[in-house]
Symmetry: C2
Subunit: 499 residues, 2 copies
């Protein structure tokens, strides 16, 4: 599936003398694990977006911050690009390696350094798994709220780099809303602290700027996350609809009623049937769409909200609304949703998962638009997504062995993202831009805005050694992709065009 | 009280030819209101921090975005510094004018452009008053959550520039958590959109970076804020303590119990007596400290939470816990708190309001430290503050007519802020850095961090024309103030040292 990968992006990075670099690493950081043989490098050729693959020049696996510091100083001095990687579960190719760059794997930093139950925070190393934080906090009745589907495997450093979300981010926010502090190293090997233990921090909000910056501004060495008390009780309602547009409109109605569900998820008929066939969750296979609405909090409040949501759903035209009778049924309802991706994977040899975000009011229109595009491109699209926050995950079904299908899938995906931008939305909700959506950034931003991104990047990393070719497209790229207007008649940062 | 103002900061800004500038403004933007006579300029010499005063070179009062755009282009071309001002209620001198700069007053942009009750947002011009947004949203059962004490007067543009907070920000967040989108103009007069109508926006989070940047990155021309449904019910508990340390510890206990009050405020004995004398709120004048804890939400939930908070307060050693019997008493309890500043003002000819933020667990220790410093400097300090989020407002009482008292007050204030930093806190919670706390920034950040701030500033405004001398100190200044370490043996950005 390499066709999705655009060779040009790093095809012209300066060639690095690999043998000399290995030699320099061995002599300066003797205890650093360095992988350099082809068979050792192969497992690192992609992250969770396996359609894009590049074997890295070298892989390093540090275990102490001092090693990372020394590595960065060396790479900075020798102008060698560095790509950071956590658990490698990212879905936008943000940790895709470079042929002429070092892949810095932070997975061995997996210590939980401190938990303060009274202050309700945990201080952890970047390689700690998302779920491990909640498990360590559980004895105190606390947990870490953002819960990407990959939470069993993904690490907190990657969550910060991608500003990861999850089923519960409508109510509890994205990663950025659940952080207190990040310790990082600049490409020059300087240690910086972003944020503070207090509610606010003076000066510019570099913590928020850094969160979601996809490894382009610095290397995360420590993260202090906020912990929340576990809700006393959670209930889930399942509502069936005879059209996706009605289900979409019901989402806006729930929010407009002033209710903030713990989770508010939508699946269309194709996704429902796939999940039911796979998990036997008890979904209505004839429904055109279902909504799963979870209410969590204290008992009385949840009871109240369930009644209000029931009423809203009924008024919005739901053909049936069921509350999970017990905890077992509640978990079954969620199991269907959480396994929807692999379930859809059983319908088709390949699928391509999108991640656009739109204002909730635009849901019915965009769902209709996706249906039309699906027909136009003759490719099935299953819709499974975080409806409450307008974060859509259309899954485009295709067969890479059928000539032209992959290209059609990619083109259809691009059209869907541009549709999201057109209604005031964005090309990513929680998966990041990475390598995957770099062309769509040209549709999302104008040249003045992209120029500003490059200037901010240069403030942290003037030589652009950290994760080049990701996240922020060059203006040259956008000009080629089309649709760019050129700033004052010239491309700023002409030196960037080598990436 | 001019002694607090450090002349050196802009004493060496290049002299601007005022007559020529007025002439250029009249000819290029004929319909722009320009004030240039001494008697017209005087009312703009300070913002809410009246200890710092400078008569601006010129004041402009635009009414259309095109005028602002043209003004910025002209100032950029002629290298004239620009200070933006909203309602002028800021407490850290962020809108303090420059003798050699234009004061750009955005107060005439006071239109509420659009309210979307279903999407729960309002799109407004920057000069719209904070409270006016909630008033306009009230017919839909919605409101704008951040509520600085100045909310009747302060404007949303200033709220964004300072990342304003308020009594309710513990539960509902600061300004940055309640924004969707900002339209801004760069110093070059380019229009940029930060954020989006969707939950997330790809690329770097420039909206969060911009929020709280104190007029140094751009001029706000439009703000889209989130609206929240009004809570069904609100109840308040008043707890008395025989020591401030016990009251401080009780705050941590409430949060540790998993309760997020709508507001959680603390007052010490001096503040209690002052407020009671002034407002007759029914406060216990013999208590060493009181806590006011408001619970809001749906009826059943609030009832539940009140019982739990009552129990936590009792276990924490409260000598008395009273729930406001009715809405009238609830409002009286809050009136005492909200008028605490003027009430304390009646005890002393002058007072100086601080704004440090600390981790909640450090509250008892810092309160003890403030008491010791108060004794050491022979100045009374009243404590009135947002205890729940650790945002302290010690009020230092002094008499500017007594020789040396002002200097002692300023020195004591600096010590208190450095104490906040020492326990992992920050020198500002909601008032910003502005001109006031620029020296304390040297204690908060190291030279690498300050260098990064300057580089980010340069990404937006390379000529440093927007609000020079505020928010981010030069390294030269920090070296003189003491406590700075110098980056690689030299000061970066030597050209900045003219500010």
């Amino acid at each position: 599936m390499n066709i999705l990968y655009d060779e040009r992006i790093d095809g012209v990075l300066p060639k690095v003398d690999k043998a000399a670099l290995v030699q320099a690493l061995h002599s300066r950081i003797p205890d650093l694990t360095v992988l350099h043989r082809a068979e050792d490098l192969r497992p690192y050729e992609c992250d969770g977006l396996s359609a894009y693959r590049t074997v890295p020049l070298l892989v390093v696996l540090p275990e102490r911050i001092e090693q990372v510091e020394a590595l960065l100083r060396l790479c900075h001095a020798q102008k060698v690009p560095v790509v950071a990687r956590g658990a490698g579960t990212g879905l936008s190719g943000g940790a895709l390696p470079l042929e002429q760059g070092v892949l810095l794997v932070m997975a061995r930093f997996k210590q939980i350094l401190e938990i303060d139950p009274a202050g309700r925070w945990a201080r952890v190393q970047p390689g700690v798994r998302n779920l491990a934080i909640s498990q360590a906090a559980a004895p105190f009745g606390l947990y870490y709220a953002p819960d990407p589907s990959s939470q069993i495997a993904c690490s907190i450093g990657g969550n910060v780099a991608e500003n990861a979300g999850g089923v519960h981010c409508l109510k509890y926010g994205l990663t950025v809303h659940n952080l207190l502090k990040v310790q990082m190293l600049t490409i020059e090997g300087e240690r910086l602290t972003l944020g503070s233990d207090a509610l606010d921090s003076p000066g510019f909000d570099l913590l928020a700027l850094f969160t979601g910056s996809e490894g382009m501004l610095g290397i995360i060495t420590e993260v202090t996350v906020k912990l929340l008390p576990k809700p006393q009780v959670a209930k889930v309602l399942l509502a069936s609809f005879d059209s996706v547009e009605k289900a979409g409109a019901a989402v806006a109605d729930i929010i407009a009623a002033g209710i903030i569900p713990g989770g508010l998820e939508m699946m269309d008929n194709l996704a429902i049937r796939a999940a039911e066939d796979f998990i036997h969750a008890g979904y209505p296979v004839d429904a055109e769409a279902i909504l799963l609405c979870e209410l969590d909090g204290v008992e009385a409040d949840v009871h109240d909200d369930c009644q209000r949501v029931y009423q809203v759903l009924t008024e919005a035209g739901a053909t049936e609304v069921r509350q999970a009778r017990d905890e077992a049924e509640r978990l079954r309802f969620w199991a269907g949703r959480k396994n929807a991706f692999p379930a859809v994977g059983r319908l088709s040899p390949d699928y391509y998962c999108m991640d656009g975000t739109i204002p909730r009011r635009a849901l019915p229109g965009v769902l209709k638009g996706i249906a039309e595009l699906s027909e136009q491109y003759s490719l099935r699209v299953a819709n499974v997504f975080h409806a409450g926050d307008g974060n859509m995950h259309p899954l485009i079904l295709f067969d890479a062995n059928q000539a032209g299908e992959l290209e059609r899938a990619e083109a259809l995906g691009g059209q869907i993202l541009e549709l999201c931008v057109a209604v005031g939305g964005s090309i990513t909700g929680e998966h990041g831009v990475g390598r995957e959506k770099i062309n769509q950034m040209c549709a999302q931003f104008n040249s003045d805005e992209l120029t500003l991104f490059h200037a901010v990047k240069a403030a942290f990393d003037p030589d652009r050694l950290l994760n080049p070719g990701k996240n922020i497209p060059t203006l040259q790229r956008c000009a080629e992709f089309g649709g760019m207007h050129i700033h004052h008649g010239q491309l700023p940062f002409p030196e960037l065009e080598r990436f």
